[in-house]
Subunit: 476 residues, 2 copies
């Protein structure tokens, strides 16, 4: 038999990439040749197209999604046109939102509808907000009453809550049943939803009272009552909880599935490890992007103009902050005219502050995401970072002071250099903690642009401290 | 019944934090009072200690680990001393490596040995490299022969490989068995290892031939042969594969457990979603840290001096690069003396390059981690980023040029500003792609310090382009 391992994904994608490359070659040849060659090229093109469709049909939808994410727009469209309708829906549910939007936009309505019809309510919930209204409503009306009302409920919860992430495919049994009843129930189903490691046990009013691990069905005698062998004390979630917190709980308690209940412990749905894991990964990525102000640009191979526009807001903010920092220098133009070495040395003070502050930002953003920082330990953290800044400022600031005084044979300049390096490291540590904490207190994502704001503070303050001290001590 | 939800973790930790706060208060009072008060404080202290131990005993080891990670050193030691021996091992296996090292260092050898003895081989493998040699070897000799040889094998694989992450607790049955045989086997076990969603099926020479999902035991008739109902075409891994790639495959194919086989398909062990998920999260964190040059400082509340020292290497590198960038300015001191506005404007050019380049770095580092970038699409990605830089450089560069020429009433200076902003954005895009790609080609982690290196390039080139152009066009 054959095993398919991750290492072999590249090998499985290789023939497809090769096909796309050959196709690209044929097309570039046709551009500069006569009609007859065009005809021949058409034949080759159709053969390639056919081969492509066959190769894609052998892949898992998640592999096609991975392929789509790593292709430039033209090749991506070509692959997407060759994907079978019955797999297309699953591919859309797997690719990231930016890429999915692009694919949806270039799919004919009929094809999109057929693709949507292959999806179960859970997967449909993942992409329904990307679909045109007409298709969305037709797909919803195709659903069974129970599925539709479940889907309409779950999508009303905000994107980053448990309610949005939960699925409706939980298996439920009555606490009065016996193991034998459950076995019969499962056998009539014929198959179990993925990631079913337990069956939820409810009382007559659908209040959750426990869960029966799948293995209990095997280990215990069919005669035993569910309520005698079920596990109680489950980790449960409510739909308005933060999905990231739920993800951390999955990680902490090594869960595969967990119940979602309302405030009166009535079972609403369940969370499964696959969706939770995807969510956590997306969040970690998003944090890394947000710190650099990269909110809407997660399609690595998307079109150029959309990429350019998605960065305008941050460029504008960045230019504004850089401009303000530069006005600080403007104030001291007189001093610089007298002692031009100041212009040479000032970026060092600013740069060391920016880099150090960004380290603190990275630590604090992560600590907030992991719920490790609270009002009780914030003081310790601030003192620790300031302590580190003081030690390193004294040590490395002195070194820079010595170097500066040697280069310009001016020990006073060296003293200014050393002092302002140390002070700007303290500013960097303070701002590195304050910026993400303030963002969080304001109810914003603490990562959001914190790197840009931090650099603004360390630049402006670096220039102000260095040029200010120099003006006081050196300029007469 | 009571459900414990993630939201309530804070509430469950709150009484412990309160106890620690009160304890801290008592101690600070004792410092400045007489012997009698000291005696009274001792009584209070013992009562607190007792309460603390009782509260901790009610927590999950993963919760205690979370608590330890969010406490400053003194409180952390106090909690650690109150943790029961039978839970200590599990706590050590859960906390991050930096914190675990600290805890191990302050634990008496006898206690450490008792804690280690409560661990199964899988958890022991997670912490064995942190233990003193004498304790490590005594714990190993306590293990059964099979467990010991498994553990000794798995720890020889490098940290970031499948072999290091795999566990030895896979359930295995012979392909000749019937469902009834398997049911009997499972019932004699009495319990199944966590995350057992399937039982692996091997032939007589222990070659993996398929897997039997747990639900197959329930659904199929006991008479049927395992080889008739098992699943083939499994996603399998080899021990030398990259653990991050395996993690991505778990995510892609929504796996709960997967077999690890040697080159001849013999079953060596298995991977489970909990360990894989932890590994992926650690990697995402590490990437975010590494970009800022924060390799060895993952203990947010660790001691100050260790934190300071862990950042020296990057501070030194940062000072060196900032110094080199400043020497570029030094070359143009004559021009600055003639036109001091240059000193004011030059940090804008450098800063905009740094911020934009770091956006590209964040995208490329992530794309490399997700295996989305290869030699086939690298060109497109580079052209895309350069295209974005060109569009934004023309647009925002012109704006900066206009502003600069208005402030200094010098249209030539505005032209220099506009041109050099655009050129430095192109440099930033190029370097933002090149720096992580070169790191990767050199076999290093592409995230490692890429932010520091990128800022160096955009600073130096920004100063060089702006001051160079200005000297050619404006200085006579």
């Amino acid at each position: 038999m054959k095993f398919s391992s991750q290492m072999k994904l590249e090998q499985r994608l290789a023939p497809i990439l090769e096909l796309l490359r050959r196709q690209h070659l044929v097309e570039s040849l046709v551009d500069r040749s006569d009609d007859q060659a065009g005809l021949g090229a058409g034949v080759v093109h159709r053969r390639h197209q056919h081969e492509l469709a066959r190769a894609l049909a052998r892949l898992h939808p998640a592999d096609i999604a991975h392929l789509a994410e790593m292709l430039p727009p033209e090749e991506r469209s070509q692959v997407w046109a060759s994907v079978q309708e019955k797999m297309g829906g699953a591919v859309l549910a797997e690719v990231n939102d930016m890429v999915a939007e692009g694919l949806v936009a270039e799919t004919p309505p009929d094809r999109l509808l057929s693709m949507g019809r292959t999806l179960d309510p859970e997967d449909l919930a993942l992409i329904e907000d990307l679909l045109p209204d007409s298709i969305r409503s037709r797909l919803l009306s195709d659903l069974q009453e129970g599925d539709r009302s479940w889907l309409e409920t779950t999508v009303t919860y905000p994107e980053d809550t448990v309610g949005h992430l939960m699925t409706g495919d939980a298996l439920v049994i009555d606490s009065g049943a016996t193991i034998e009843d459950v076995l019969r129930f499962v056998r009539t189903l014929g198959d179990l939803p993925d990631h079913t490691d337990k069956i939820f046990v409810v009382d007559e009013r659908r209040h959750l009272v426990g869960a029966l691990p799948l293995k209990a069905l095997i280990i215990h005698s069919p005669k035993r009552r569910v309520s005698d062998v079920m596990k109680t004390g489950l980790v449960a979630f409510t739909p308005d909880e933060d999905a990231e917190d739920a993800g951390l709980a999955f990680q902490r308690y090594d869960l595969i599935s967990a119940p979602v209940v309302d405030s009166r412990d009535r079972l609403l749905g369940r969370l499964t490890v696959d969706l939770v894991m995807d969510f956590l990964q997306e969040q970690a990525e998003e944090d890394a992007y947000l710190r650099e102000g990269l909110s809407g640009d997660t399609d690595l191979f998307g079109p150029v103009y959309a990429g350019a526009r998605s960065r305008w807001m941050w460029l504008a903010l960045n230019l504004m902050t850089a401009f303000v920092a530069s006005r600080v220098i403007g104030v001291f133009e007189g001093s610089i005219q007298q002692l031009v070495a100041l212009a040479t040395l000032m970026p060092i003070v600013a740069s060391i502050g920016g880099n150090t502050g960004n380290q603190t930002v990275a630590l604090v953003v992560r600590g907030l995401a992991l719920d490790q920082i609270n009002s009780g330990n914030l003081n310790y953290l601030a003192l620790k970072e300031l302590g580190i800044a003081l030690i390193n400022g004294l040590l490395w600031g002195s070194l820079m002071g010595v170097i500066a005084s040697l280069i310009y044979s001016d020990s006073q300049l060296g003293l200014v250099m050393a002092t302002s390096t140390m002070l700007n490291l303290l500013v960097a540590a303070g701002a590195g903690i304050a910026v993400p904490i303030i963002m969080e207190r304001l109810g914003r994502d603490p990562a959001l642009g914190s790197s840009v704001v931090l650099t603004f503070v360390t630049d402006s303050m670096g220039f102000l401290i260095f040029l200010g001290l120099a003006t006081m001590l050196l300029i007469h």
